[in-house]
Structures are given as C-alpha cells and as structure tokens.
Symmetry: C2
Amino acid sequence: MSVRRGRRPGESATREAIFAAARNRFAEHGYDRTTIRAIAADAEVDPALVMHFFGSKERLFIAVMELPFDPGEVLPQILAGDRSTVGHRLAEFLIRRLEDPGARMVFTGMVRSAASEPGAAKMLRELVSREILWPLAQDLDVDDPELRGTLVGSQIVGLVMARYVVGVEPLASAEPDRLIEAIGPNLQRYLVEPLWSAGSG
Amino acid sequence: MSVRRGRRPGESATREAIFAAARNRFAEHGYDRTTIRAIAADAEVDPALVMHFFGSKERLFIAVMELPFDPGEVLPQILAGDRSTVGHRLAEFLIRRLEDPGARMVFTGMVRSAASEPGAAKMLRELVSREILWPLAQDLDVDDPELRGTLVGSQIVGLVMARYVVGVEPLASAEPDRLIEAIGPNLQRYLVEPLWSAGSG
C-alpha cells in the first residue's frame, strides 16, 4: 500500500479506526500479545499505515492508553469544594466514568497490561504519577500526599480488577450508586483523614 | 527418561523443584505464556516427568496457586476476638504475609495471571469465593457479607498490584507497620461498619 504525505480525505477516519482497534486489542490481550498486524487487520488497513501514523507499537500503546478523561480538568473540580466529601466526589466520578464502555476498556486495558508487561507497568506508573499523584500532592494540604495518592490508586486499580477483569460477584454487578456509597468514605480516609497514630507518622 | 511407579529417593525433591519452577514461571509470565517445557527446563527435569507428577498445565497451575496459608485456620483467628479491630488483624496478617518472598510470589502470580488469562481469572474467582468469601459470609454477622468480602478483596488485590506488580512509589517501599495502620481501618469499614445510608441499602 502506498502512503502519501499530508492530509487526505478519510485520513482522520482511518486513524480513528486504528485507534479503536488498538484500544480493543490492548485491552483484551495486553501489550505483549498484541501485534501491529492484528491491529491493522481489525482496522482493515495495511500494517505499514499503522506504522506510518504511530511509528511503533510502544508509541501506539501510549497514545491509546491516554486516560479517558483530562486530569487537569477533572481533578481540580474534584479537589475543590467541600473537603469532607472529596472522597465521595472522586468515587462518583470514577465509578460513573467506568460505566462508559469506552472508558472502561481503557481502564481494564491499563490494568491488564500493567499486570503482565513490565514495560506497560512502567508506563502506567509514570502516567499515574505524573497525571494524578502530583496534582494530588500539590492540591491537597495533607501529610504524605504521595503515599495517600498511591493508596487511593490501590483501591481504584483493585476495584477495576475485581469488578471488571476478574468479575467477582456480587461486586461485578453491584449498582454504581451503592458502590459509590461503599467506596467513597474509604477514598475520603485515604485522601484527607488521619492515617497514622501520633507516634508512628 | 524412564518413569517408575512408587516413591523413589529424591522424588519429593524433584516435585519440589518442579513446584518452585512452576511458581516462578506463572508468577513472572502468567498462565498462557508459561509452558511445561520451560518449567521442566528450569527444574532440570524432563517435561514428561512434569506431566507424570501433575497431569496437565492447568492442574499444575491450580496446585501452585494454592493460597500461601490455610484460610480454614487463619480466618477464624482473624474473625474471632475484638470486632472493632478485625480490619486491623486482617491487614496485619496479609501485609506481613506479603513480606515473605514465597507468599508474595504466589499472590503476585495470582494477580498477574488473573489479569491476563480468563481461565486463571475464573480459577481465582472460584478459589477466592470458596476459601475466603464464604467463610466471611458465614462468620461475620453483617448485612451484605458477600459484597463486603469482595470489597475487601478489591483493596487487597489493588494493594498487591500497586505495591508489588506495578511498584508505584512511595507505596512500593512503605514500611509494613505504616501500611497496616493506613489500610486496616479501611478493611474494618468494609467488614463491619455501616456502608450505606438508611435509604439505599
């Protein structure tokens, strides 16, 4: 297949098709077991075109694994407002976001890939630290902000694993509203409440 | 290699070597990407001997993925005693157990495999439900015991992911004592505290 430079009619549709195929593949099969060839076949394009647009499997992965929301926009909204309900707002945002099939696929793909691929784990670690932990560290006036951020992260990644990847019942089919009520106060504690007795911090 | 029936000197050492090699392989590479051939090579035995002892890759996996403690012995100890500190006792047991490299390898192997292999996810789901959720459901006199059990499970699997598999700092190198203090009260809430407001339960 010949590849011409510059914008062509249909180019952005082609990119979108590759993007969607890559997201599906990485989500279902993880990083290692996903090939450019398989993505190209799903998108019904030539593998060379995937390389032309994205350069490498790693770069395509990073592009696809972008968080399905803009943390720079969302986090300030969650962190602003009543401090006594910040955990509830975070739980509500995440659990509602996970109801969206596209967003859920990105989250589960991240978790699946990070669990089995050291390269994906490193990318996820960097993405989460840069996009989520640092804003948390800067915006919440608490002790140990980074550790609190990672504790929140542990609950979120565990929720994605248990509810969507492993699918343990009755968590897998629990109503979002009940889940927000169940998990919100635990995120609240990790975010702003005292975590350690006076002597051990 | 000829295989004779009955106990031979060195047979249990050979089984141990296969077991250790399988545990390592499954933990590092997950279920799908682990082969009997690779396990046999690591254990320095013939692949036929692995099949002789364990029958199939799936049965070897189940043998290796046994929980690194006896839930029938441990859970009653955790659940008995002061109800106001049951979450602390559970956090203490698990986090201390994870300090042991062998136990940690089993836990991370379970999480890695469950994240990437539907077959392993199904086995983990069944193991966790049978060994942990049902005892919890029977022994704790609370509303929604199974959902509480799976919420606890979500925090534990997330801790294993974040601390050991992905290795997010500063969680990855946090002291066990601090972690027990940080996580215990959250498990406590999931286990026995009210999770829902009166109107929504």
